[in-house]
């Protein structure tokens, strides 16, 4: 046999072998149930955690093939919407409650009551209630959050403040005092979510189908915010941004702001980046409004997009339960500085016992855990076209706070716009705070 012929035969055999191997691999992959799941902005910090869980689950479920995709939070809605429209949505997607509510409203999510079964009782009642829309549960609860108030004791001392504020009014007054006496900012309220802020304070947006946020109580509340802004008590950077958290934490870390309303995990960043500020940081509960709900509740969960059915739905539900079981939730909560939503994990000594040498972060975790019974994810539901209405309210409040418009006039104008939109609706609408 010539050398060329031998070479050709060798190549032929190699090709045959490759085709056979590929064919076998394809067959074996085709036999498995493929579960694609999306998480929201968890890479790279949680990459080892999720890779270990995926490997563990695949080892114990050889018939399941998992694909983990982490999507940045600010592009997740766009990608998920496109994927749902294209019919290529993942089997599970991590969402926050307001987004899940919107998707559920459009019929883009699948209710999971049938898949949750008896495991429903493994999760806290608040978490299940957060995910119940129109009588159906729409997700497997994962982790939650609650705000605490970290404060710079050195700035408080310099400003002559001896008592930690317990109401929003006191907090605004303290903020102005801090600016006047130390030149630093007081704090940065979530003004980019003014509807939520009003609702926390027990100030309704709509009653009997009419906008009521121009009442004297609302005007007084916005006027106090405007006064604190004028006095320089509120941090200006990103003040009206929907997400003012990064700017707030930067200001607190650099000693430019005295109070930080944030989840306990924020204190790990203070501890790691600004040890001097951390050393003078103490924590207190955030002021609780008239509704008695602690601010900062923000439940994450795994939802199932519409069209996930049959074996894929069953296997995806089993995997979601695995991701959110007691052990894995506790491990994730410890790693993330978040709060679990499984009953057993919440009761773990990690959250309940405070060490004698506890720093601000440990105190914040203990404080947060005590508040898990009163924390809920707050958002407005039941108002058609809320995005547009909220935008009008948001603009009115911004203009009032920075002094471009009189507070009463700004709120009256926005209320008139709301009423113009709400009036033609067939039935009266209640801007209910969910839950």
């Amino acid at each position: 046999m010539s050398r060329a012929a031998a070479l050709l035969r060798l190549i032929g055999m190699l090709l045959l072998a490759a085709v056979t191997v590929c064919g076998c691999a394809r067959t074996s992959a085709a036999d498995k149930v493929h579960i694609e799941f999306w998480t929201m902005s968890l890479k790279p910090k949680f990459t080892p955690y999720f890779k270990a869980l995926v490997a563990q689950y695949e080892a114990s479920h050889p018939d399941v093939e998992l694909e983990w995709v982490d999507v940045p939070w600010d592009t997740l809605q766009t990608k998920l919407t496109a994927a749902i429209v294209a019919g290529s949505a993942p089997a599970l997607v991590q969402l926050n409650v307001p987004w899940a509510y919107d998707y559920a409203l459009y019929g883009a999510l699948r209710p999971i009551d049938d898949l949750l079964g008896a495991d429903r009782s493994a999760y806290t009642e608040g978490a299940i209630a957060d995910l119940t829309f129109n009588g159906h549960v729409y997700g497997f609860p994962h982790y939650n959050s609650v705000n605490v108030m970290a404060y710079n004791t050195a700035l408080f001392r310099s400003a002559g403040i001896t008592r930690v504020p317990t109401t929003r009014d006191e907090q605004l007054a303290v903020a102005s005092q801090i600016k006047a006496r130390t030149g630093q900012y007081g704090f940065s309220p979530a003004l980019g979510k003014i509807a939520g802020l009003m609702l926390e304070e027990g100030l309704p947006l709509v009653e009997n189908g009419k906008a009521v946020f121009n009442s004297p109580a609302h005007v007084a509340f916005v006027t106090k915010l405007a006064d604190a802004y004028k006095a320089g008590g509120l941090l200006k950077d990103k003040l009206f941004s929907e997400d003012n958290y990064p700017a707030s934490i930067d200001a607190y870390k650099s000693g430019r702001m005295a109070m930080l309303e944030a989840p306990p995990s924020a204190l790990t960043r203070v501890r790691d980046d600004a040890a001097d500020i951390y050393a003078v940081t103490d924590v207190a509960p955030v002021p609780i409004g008239a509704r008695g709900i602690a601010a900062g509740g923000w439940l994450f969960h795994f939802a199932m997009p519409k069209g996930t059915d049959g074996a894929v739905a069953r296997e995806a539900a089993a995997f979601a339960k695995f991701l959110t079981n007691d052990v894995n939730q506790l491990a994730f909560a410890k790693l993330a500085g978040a709060f679990p939503t499984s009953r057993k994990a919440v009761a773990d000594p990690h959250f309940q016992r405070l060490r004698t040498d506890a720093g601000a972060y440990d105190k914040a975790m203990a404080l947060g855990a005590q508040r898990m019974d009163v924390v809920r994810t707050l958002y407005v539901s039941g108002v058609p076209g809320f995005e547009r209405l909220n935008k009008r309210l948001q603009d009115a409040v911004e203009a009032a706070i920075i002094g471009r418009k009189d507070v009463k006039t700004a709120l009256d104008d926005a209320a008139a716009f709301w009423n113009g939109k709400l009036a033609p609706l067939a039935r009266p609408t209640q801007a209910a705070i969910r839950p």
Partner: protein, 313 residues
């Protein structure tokens, strides 16, 4: 059929030019078809990814539609909705204000191109440096400028260090300044791109024209104004149209740096459409807004052609 063929053959025998005419017409038709064959792949892609979405999107602007139910024709209702929304008018006004950037960017790019169009040592380094913002990701640019505009950022630090201002300026938090701050970023990003186009045009101007002007005693300014600028006119037209359309369609800078705030002062036409479509899930209103912005784009482009097209006598 046969007799007819016979007649044709006989006639061809009597008139030989006819026999040659048939292949010639075939050649002609082949010549006409061939370019379309070459164009076909590109046209197919354009039809699929540009023409069809434009047509379908334009239709959806006249419907009530969410992505889960079939569209229902509602006439001009979505446009009436737009007219009622003051934020949409702010967006249009801001998009038009953004056009202020066009003369600034063109002038800056021409000056830069003239400056780097020489053979000084290290000039390539400068050319590359001016082009870096063009190839830098807009996310990186947005975050970087966000830091610089911050109250504790570089710009405020320099201004306060030089005692030009006492308190930090809210470049992105003051509703009177925010749009102009974002415009500066667009200007910074675009300069290098147009500089390269002008540089190419400058290098294509025949040297003998300037030589002749110099021999005629023209000063440096006269040579620039009477020789260089007229020769650059086609490029100026191209760059002006491109930058006008870019200015009308600005989105990324706003999305990354201000998200339309404060008090909706940095909303632009396209950001409004994005906001309505992607955040509020109101696709028909987003498409209606896009259509209006497109009409403005076409109008502004037409004005550019009307006033800047070189006139040949």
């Amino acid at each position: 059929m046969t007799p007819r063929a016979g007649i044709d053959a006989a006639s061809a025998d009597r008139q030989p030019w006819r026999a040659r005419a048939a292949p010639a017409s075939r050649r002609l038709s082949r010549r006409a078809v061939r370019p379309w064959l070459f164009l076909a792949p590109a046209l197919l892609l354009l039809a699929l990814f540009t023409f069809w979405p434009v047509l379908w999107g334009s239709y959806l602007a006249f419907t009530e539609y969410n992505f889960l139910t079939p569209p229902r024709f509602v006439g001009l209702a979505n446009f009436e909705d737009l007219i009622e929304d003051p934020v949409f008018f702010i967006s249009l006004k801001n998009s038009l204000l953004y056009l202020l950037i066009v003369p600034a960017i063109q002038l800056g790019a021409i000056v830069l191109a003239v400056l780097v169009n020489n053979t000084l040592p290290g000039i390539k380094l400068f050319r590359a440096a001016f082009y870096v913002p063009v190839v830098t990701s807009v996310s990186v640019v947005g975050i970087m400028w966000g830091w610089m505009y911050n109250e504790q950022g570089l710009i405020n630090a320099v201004l306060q260090g030089l005692h030009i201002v006492n308190d930090p300026v809210g470049w992105l938090s003051d509703d009177r300044l925010a749009l102009f701050s974002v415009m500066v970023v667009t200007l910074w990003r675009g300069l290098g791109w147009y500089m390269v186009l002008y540089l190419a045009a400058l290098q294509a101007i025949p040297k003998d024209l300037e030589e002749a002007a110099r021999l005629d005693g023209a000063t440096r300014w006269q040579r620039f104004w009477r020789v260089t600028v007229p020769m650059l006119m086609p490029t100026i037209l191209l760059c002006t149209v491109l930058s006008t359309l870019s200015a009308m369609k600005v989105l990324e800078e706003v999305l990354i740096m201000t998200k339309g705030g404060p008090v909706s002062s940095t909303y632009t036409g396209l950001y409004y459409a994005y906001d309505q479509g992607i955040r509020a899930f109101n696709f028909p209103r987003a498409l209606a807004a896009s259509l209006v912005v497109s009409v403005f784009c076409v109008a502004v482009a037409w004005l550019n052609f009307r006033f800047l097209r070189p006139r040949h006598r």
